[in-house]
């Protein structure tokens, strides 16, 4: 088990990068997804079309191709440089944003229209209705799905290894390449992911139970 002394620190190093990109990605993805999801269920036609087009592109191109595109092609088009981590955050944000759009749209639409009418009767403006009456219950409804997306995002970061982001999967590959320990590296690496995501799944279960109790 001597090899673990070399491999585990590498995996932990990779974990820091994985978490950084996942958290940043979900954060920006949530902002993008909220705007897009709101547009999808709203009445503004142009906004709906733009949001629809965005989701169509993201769902229509494999994540790995998106990553290669952002890292290698965008810099040439924009005549600037984009680092691996930045490209990773951009890709993950855009990708999770598309799926979060659906979550947001569903949550906003599932709030009883009666709430909206009650707010109008009370003389509230549309914006006040949105922020004080619609968003709070909608947000609570979104939380389990958002957390689910977070778990999916953590696994998606593995793809970023192709644009040389030193996340967990890349660390596994780097170690395997020089140690020739194919079986050990990939098995330990897979278990590493499994343990982390299992912990998150348990946390998710707890959150879901707490929400059910409150509502």
């Amino acid at each position: 088990m001597e090899f673990l002394k070399v491999l585990l620190p590498m995996l932990v190093r990779g974990l820091k990068v994985t978490l950084l990109i996942s958290v940043a990605g979900i954060f920006f993805g949530f902002i993008i997804g909220s705007i897009s999801g709101y547009a999808l269920q709203g009445k503004n036609k142009p906004a709906k079309i733009i949001a629809g087009a965005y989701i169509w592109v993201i769902r229509g191109i494999p994540l790995i191709v998106q990553a290669l595109y952002v890292y290698y092609v965008l810099p040439l088009l924009l005549n600037t440089d984009i680092s691996s981590e930045t490209a990773g955050i951009i890709v993950i944000s855009l990708n999770s944003g598309a799926f979060i759009s659906e979550i947001v749209r569903g949550a906003l639409q599932s709030v009883d229209p009666g709430q909206n009418e009650a707010g109008l009767c009370l003389g509230l403006t549309n914006r006040q209705i949105l922020w004080h009456i619609i968003v709070p219950p909608a947000f609570k409804m979104m939380l389990p799905s958002l957390f689910n997306q977070f778990i999916i995002t953590i696994k998606d970061t593995a793809i970023l290894s192709v644009i040389v982001v030193n996340e967990i999967t890349k660390e596994i590959q780097n170690y395997a390449a020089l140690s020739y320990r194919t079986i050990e590296s990939y098995t330990v690496g897979a278990l590493f992911y499994l343990v982390i995501i299992s912990i998150l799944m348990i946390v998710q279960k707890n959150i879901e139970q707490k929400i059910e109790v409150k509502v």
């Binding site: 040389v164 395997a176 020739y180 278990l191």
Partner: protein, 291 residues
């Protein structure tokens, strides 16, 4: 703890232990070789003559196709050509062995060295450097081509103060290397981990340097020289002296398992290399591929 939670956790623990056990037991995948009763020819064992010494012997050979001009693809994108391919041909002419499956197997450097280390391939020719690390897991013939590592920079975008490999030890510059190569081994041993970018293939490493995404690239000198010579409009140039020369010259890799099956194999290869040097074949190869 809830019953369901307990069940999930015990499942994870069992799964984990099972996989750990599996790892511990599985020590080096032994591949069942095709019945190769063809031992080394009598002519060798009796006179030391290498003509046809491996007649009837079948060997699986691997390369990468990723290192011009030693092993790379022709313009059609599918024919493997290069110094090593011609060299392999010459060895076959003298020694008489056949290549398993009729063709040389192709994979990237990390997969290639791992395959030989695990005995999944008998032999590999791909401008392979006989490094100390690799010698622990496979055998090497004598050197057939001398080489060293070199660093390449982007003429326009790399920091001007980089004039040799020693500058990289400060960790202030990003360095690209190809996974599994001698450059990767060198970088991992000598340079700060945060400054290294490990690319799956040298193609993305070159591309990254051309775009200025990295400051420096380390690769074998012949490969970089060939790239710079043939890539039109390249921004790359080599700086500094060749280094790591003791660890970087090319030799034929032979797996430990194959050496066990044919104990004389490495000696035979060495004698063949000697003969090819004496009869001018290697000089001819040098002129053909390096003008």
């Amino acid at each position: 703890m809830k019953k369901k939670m307990r069940r999930i956790l015990s499942f994870i623990v069992i799964l984990g232990s099972a996989l750990m056990l599996f790892t511990a037991c599985f020590n080096g995948d032994k591949v069942s070789k095709t019945e190769n009763e063809g031992k080394v020819a009598k002519t060798y064992t009796e006179d030391g003559s290498i003509e046809g010494a491996l007649e009837g012997v079948e060997l699986s050979v691997g390369t990468t196709g990723l290192f011009a001009p030693f092993s790379y693809y022709d313009h059609d994108g599918s024919t493997l050509i290069g110094y090593d391919m011609d060299f392999l041909n010459e060895l076959q002419k003298i020694l008489g062995f056949t290549i398993a499956g009729g063709t040389v197997k192709n994979m990237d450097y990390s997969a290639l060295t791992t395959s030989v280390a695990k005995g999944k391939l008998d032999m590999a020719l791909a401008a392979l450097c006989a490094t100390d690390e690799r010698k622990e897991v496979m055998n090497f013939s004598n050197i057939y081509y001398d080489s060293g590592l070199i660093i390449a920079v982007n003429k326009e975008m790399s920091p001007k103060e980089i004039t040799g490999v020693d500058f990289l030890k400060s960790g202030n510059y990003t360095v690209a290397v190809e996974k599994g190569t001698a450059s990767h081994i060198y970088a991992q041993k000598n340079l700060p981990a945060e400054s290294i970018e490990v690319h799956d293939t040298i193609t993305t490493a070159y591309e990254s340097l051309e775009q200025g995404k990295v400051d420096v690239l380390i690769q074998d000198h012949p490969g970089v020289a060939y790239y710079i010579k043939t890539k039109s409009g390249t921004k790359l140039e080599t700086v500094g002296e060749e280094f790591n020369n003791g660890q970087a010259p090319y030799a034929i890799a032979v797996s430990f398992d194959t050496s066990e099956e044919y104990p004389e194999l490495v000696d035979i290869l060495n004698k063949a290399i000697e003969e090819l040097e004496e009869n001018g074949t290697i000089d001819a190869l040098n002129s053909k591929w390096f003008e």
